[in-house]
């Protein structure tokens, strides 16, 4: 795994995550002391409580841990956009970090299933770079890098 550390960026907010992420690249807070990643952004490493945190990039290659198809719009922003899928994925590089992603969906349900290999993409919002969209899309099964869940 290759990590590009950016020590100056604030590690307790979402701006850097959305600005640095891209198609197949995900910026995660990374602890300089215990060398582990975590999610969400926070002040101290949840594993060793170090405050020496920086952003590091991991591959967006991930495995679906759980998935649900949302068929009811709970907030105005999703009116007319249901059904859509919400997946909880684990990164193949860092399997103890999970991330919630939006997936595509058809009437039958989300286009990904538990155990599927997916690619995560991060897009900053055009007008507010401190927020944005995170999606995951299915990878051809044979393209997965031996993807596996936590159990």
């Amino acid at each position: 795994m290759s990590l590009q550390e950016t020590a100056e960026a604030p590690v307790d907010s979402f701006g850097q995550f959305f600005r640095e992420g891209g198609e197949g690249t995900v910026a995660l807070p990374h602890c300089q002391d215990c060398d582990r990643h975590h999610w969400y952004p926070m002040e101290r490493c949840p594993h060793c409580f170090s405050q020496r945190l920086a952003w590091g990039s991991v591959s967006g290659r991930a495995t679906v841990y759980s998935v649900t198809t949302v068929r009811y719009a709970f907030t105005a922003a999703n009116r007319g956009r249901t059904p859509y899928g919400i997946a909880l994925v684990t990164f193949d590089d860092v399997p103890d970090v999970r991330m919630v992603c939006r997936t595509g969906a058809c009437e039958e349900g989300s286009d990904v299933a538990v155990g599927d290999a997916v690619m995560v993409s991060v897009t900053a919002d055009a007008t507010d770079q401190d927020t944005g969209m995170v999606t995951c899309a299915p990878l051809p099964r044979n393209a997965g890098s031996g993807a596996h869940g936590e159990r």
């Binding site: 649900t68 907030t75 919400i86 969209m133």
Partner: protein, 384 residues
């Protein structure tokens, strides 16, 4: 002066279950509080201690406001957690005030107006930064989605037939229809359950709790004074609270032990130590059922069912009135009303007084009540 006296619930009050009330949240709380005080055979000026949840009541019906409206002078005041864990864990604090002689009678209260408030149950999530910046924009914006993911993962690990979740909804509807006082008054068959629309797979409409306006209150005092009241005292046999190193931001995605709720182990240990009685001795349980899957997972967390078996337990009818462990005997959050579990305490008291009418559990001696306010958890064991 401190004592080791047992403490008892001596009075209960609740507003009628309603999807929308014509009364304000403050009026509803006043009504419930006065009803509980009267039920305890007391006058408002006899109350000198108050406990509420720290978040919802502290913002909408603060204890100072209620004290002023009821003419109460307090020598004890405390709050904990938010919502269900606050209402169910309140005796933990009340016991301290009562045993240390800081007060004589403690009023616990809770209410919500999420039935009539435009943001409903979803608005308070905005207090979590990750929810605002990350989860809402991608559409992870409501409880059925969080619990839908839990249920889908449970299905992957243990298998979960649709009917296993449905069994909770159907059984609880039976209780509500028999009681005749809840928001749901018409029966629900398994066929009807299966035909209701999916909301967030595998959770259907009938897997989700109601939305309500209402309030409840209850009164606690020490055993010695409880005997003076008009009702049979209900004893607090054990009460526990737990909250692990998981924030409200992380709880629905990062927890390593994804299929169990944090705080349950600590709460169970505290209750079993208090009561010198295992949870398995309970004759019934009022389990926080924001969704069918929440109830299922807690039955396993509490050790009342083995991992992977709670759905089959329900499907075999064991949570019904004639089952091995009647669960949510008023209909719960799914069918009675959704006051974030505060009414579960009231129903447990009814059962232990022998006042549960057509849903009375025969020879009910010990009951459990759970309050789930992730990442907080509270557990209460009551007996008569």
């Amino acid at each position: 002066m401190s004592s080791t006296s047992d403490i008892c619930i001596t009075g209960i009050g609740a507003t009628p279950p309603a999807r929308r009330s014509t009364h304000s949240i403050r009026r509803l709380v006043v009504d419930a509080a006065l009803a509980a005080i009267e039920d305890a055979g007391l006058r408002p000026e006899d109350i000198d201690g108050m406990v509420s949840d720290s978040v919802i009541m502290s913002a909408s019906v603060p204890r100072d406001w209620l004290s002023a409206q009821l003419g109460i002078t307090r020598t004890f005041d405390a709050s904990l957690s938010y919502g269900g864990a606050g209402s169910v864990g309140a005796p933990l604090l009340a016991r301290t005030g009562l045993r240390q002689g800081l007060c004589r009678n403690v009023l616990v209260y809770f209410g919500v107006d999420w039935g009539s408030r435009p943001s409903g149950p979803y608005g308070f999530h905005d207090m979590y930064p990750a929810k605002r910046a990350y989860e809402k924009p991608i559409g992870f914006d409501a409880q059925p989605e969080y619990f839908g993911l839990l249920a889908a993962r449970y299905a992957e690990e243990y298998g979960l037939a649709d009917e296993e979740l449905g069994a909770f909804a159907v059984a609880q509807r039976e209780y509500a229809v028999r009681a005749g006082i809840g928001q749901k008054t018409t029966p629900l068959t398994m066929e009807q359950y299966l035909a209701t629309p999916m909301i967030s797979d595998p959770l259907r409409f009938e897997d989700c709790c109601l939305i309500s306006d209402g309030a409840v209150a209850y009164v606690l005092t020490v055993e010695e004074r409880a005997a003076d009241g008009p009702h049979r005292p209900v004893y607090v046999r054990g009460v526990g609270f737990g909250s692990e190193a998981t924030s409200g931001d992380d709880i629905f995605s990062q927890r390593a032990d994804y299929l169990s709720f944090p705080g349950t182990a600590q709460a169970v240990a505290a209750v079993e130590c208090d009561a010198s009685l295992p949870l398995s001795e309970a004759d019934f349980a009022e389990v926080y059922d924001c969704f069918t899957i929440s109830c299922l997972l807690q039955l396993e967390d509490l050790g009342l069912c083995d991992r992977g078996t709670a759905g089959k337990f329900a499907l075999a009818g064991e949570t019904r009135l004639d089952g091995r462990l009647p669960v949510n005997t008023h209909g719960g959050l799914l069918a009675h009303s959704y006051l974030l579990g505060a009414e579960h305490v009231i129903e447990a008291v009814r059962q232990l007084r022998g006042d549960a009418g057509p849903n009375q559990v025969e020879n009910a001696r010990v009951g459990l009540v759970t309050g789930l306010s992730v990442p907080d958890y509270a557990l209460l064991m009551l007996s008569n």
